[in-house]
């Protein structure tokens, strides 16, 4: 079972995590929901219909779990569910699009193309608590500068990755 689980998680975890994050679950809870997806799938593997790819089935489990997750957050849950539903519709419409979850190697290459200071900023943000104010304090900059910079970096990296993937696909 361990081998089977390990193969499954290794092959699909990036997809599953991206799917969960892409429909609006905060990064701090993505891991918990991903665990729930695998536990649910491994407990009832027989429920996955013949001919349906495990990943597609797991995305279905993830969608339902995310729905329950937002429902449990009563104050903001209703609006979050609407946002999530819209993002799910987009995910289903653009399955197999250029920015799928196979983008990790291209993203690593794109990060290496950034100036060193920008790479360091990314690492501080993502390897820490993703707290723009704390980073800003250490850099003697306003928090808004860090947020804007992170936004720009995400955009630059997204475009770089999409270009790299499109170029790979055309060759």
């Amino acid at each position: 079972m361990a081998d089977e689980l390990m193969d499954l998680v290794q092959e699909t975890q990036c997809h599953v995590r991206c799917y969960i994050a892409g429909i609006g679950v905060p990064h701090s809870d993505v891991d918990d929901i991903a665990q729930d997806v695998y536990v649910e799938f491994m407990r009832h593997p027989d429920r996955c219909p013949t001919g349906v790819a495990p990943l597609a089935w797991m995305k279905g489990i993830a969608r339902n779990l995310c729905h329950s997750y937002f429902r449990a957050r009563s104050r903001r849950g209703a609006a979050m569910r609407r946002i999530s539903d819209t993002l799910v519709r987009d995910a289903e419409r653009t399955t197999g699009g250029p920015l799928t979850e196979d983008a990790l190697p291209a993203l690593k290459r794109c990060i290496e193309l950034l100036p060193l200071q920008r790479q360091q900023l990314l690492r501080r943000y993502y390897d820490g608590d993703r707290d723009a104010s704390a980073i800003a304090e250490g850099m003697n900059r306003p928090a808004d500068w860090v947020r804007k910079m992170m936004m720009r970096l995400r955009l630059v990296l997204r475009e770089c990755v999409e270009r790299a993937l499109a170029s790979e696909a055309s060759t």
Partner: protein, 437 residues
Amino acid sequence: VIRQLAERFLHDRDSLDEADLEALASGLEEDPELAGELRRMLVIDELLGQCLTTGHERLIERVAGRLTAARRPRSTPMVWASLAAAAIVLALVVWRIPRSRVDAPPLRIVSTGDPQVMHADRMATAVDRAIEAGDALVVPPLGALTLRYDDGTTVTLGGGTNVFFSGDQRQQKRLRIVRGSITIEAVPQSTSAPLVVSSAVAEATVLGTRFTLRVQGDDARLDVDTGLVRFAKLDGSEGIEVAGGRFAVATAGQPLASFPRTLLVKFGAMTGEPPSDTVVDTGAHFTAERGYGWSHPNLGEPLPGVVWNGWQRTKDRIPTIPRVPAVDPLFDTALSVGWANHTEHWRMRLPNGGYLATVCVGDALDDQGPHRVVLQGAVVIDGVLTAAGSSHQMRQIPVSVTDGELTMEVGGCSSFPPSSDGSSDTTIQFLRITSVP
């Protein structure tokens, strides 16, 4: 406004109140393009997290732990009573059996330098803890852990290593490495149930030896110190036996081959029998069978504009003449390659990874240079002149092979004056390549 809310949703979600979220929800419903853009940014955000943080790779252990916990029977009074009765019977039996016959757990943690080792869903800090089927161990980046089988075989996990024990270690010693490195010092193993270490792409069968298996990205690298290890890819292709002092790397799409950890390429004619782990290159064209050589055959093709001592030079690579009596065979001969305005290209098939390369130029008989050697795109020697005799120049450089080939460019040093006899060819004596795991 909606775009600004989408940006805040990305980087400061908690600052959005219910009304903001409602407005964003309506905006996204009306503008599917913006919804797509937001989702792509959320995916990039997650991918960045996966690239730049550690911890998410523990997902496997966490899931395995939860599944194991779910399988444990619930404790009820009946179960406790049965367990108590069983314990009394077991105690009586154990009391009557000589101590040596009690089955010892086959694999135990014997030393750990760090308390943060994960053992399935719980922490394993105690030395002497037994490993059970389905357990997983994660060693933190700066940690290390040693385990010992009851036959004396030791398994050392390096920092950042993640390992699964997929079956009952009494039946078969079987480990699966997800990332990091494992060093094994094994006593001779039973051929019917040998120790097998596997990764996602390859497996090593231990027959009594000392070796290290490392997972490097999608590749698996085996370094054998002593003995013999059978190494095979899991794609069904034929495996190889890797002997002590050699290494092999399993890479998708490339056949397995073992290489010495230090390989010497002697350029020019070699006086005497080449020592082991030495290949002699006399300037021949690259062939796949040999796995190294130059980019084109020696055809006697003239090199335009290069006439030296009344001799029209050709594009050929020519071994220099040995000195009599010979000096050290390593420095006695060289290969004359390229001129000031002409470069030659050499390549050798090597497993991906890091290497320390040592290049030596010079000629025992004549003044030579200006030499120029470029390895993997990095200039190692440029504009160096060497005098006749045993004078030579040696340079070392770390290089990285990522596409299964080491490449070298020689010659083409046009910005330095020629040597004393007016020539400008590079005479390369040897290249030593030491693999650095």
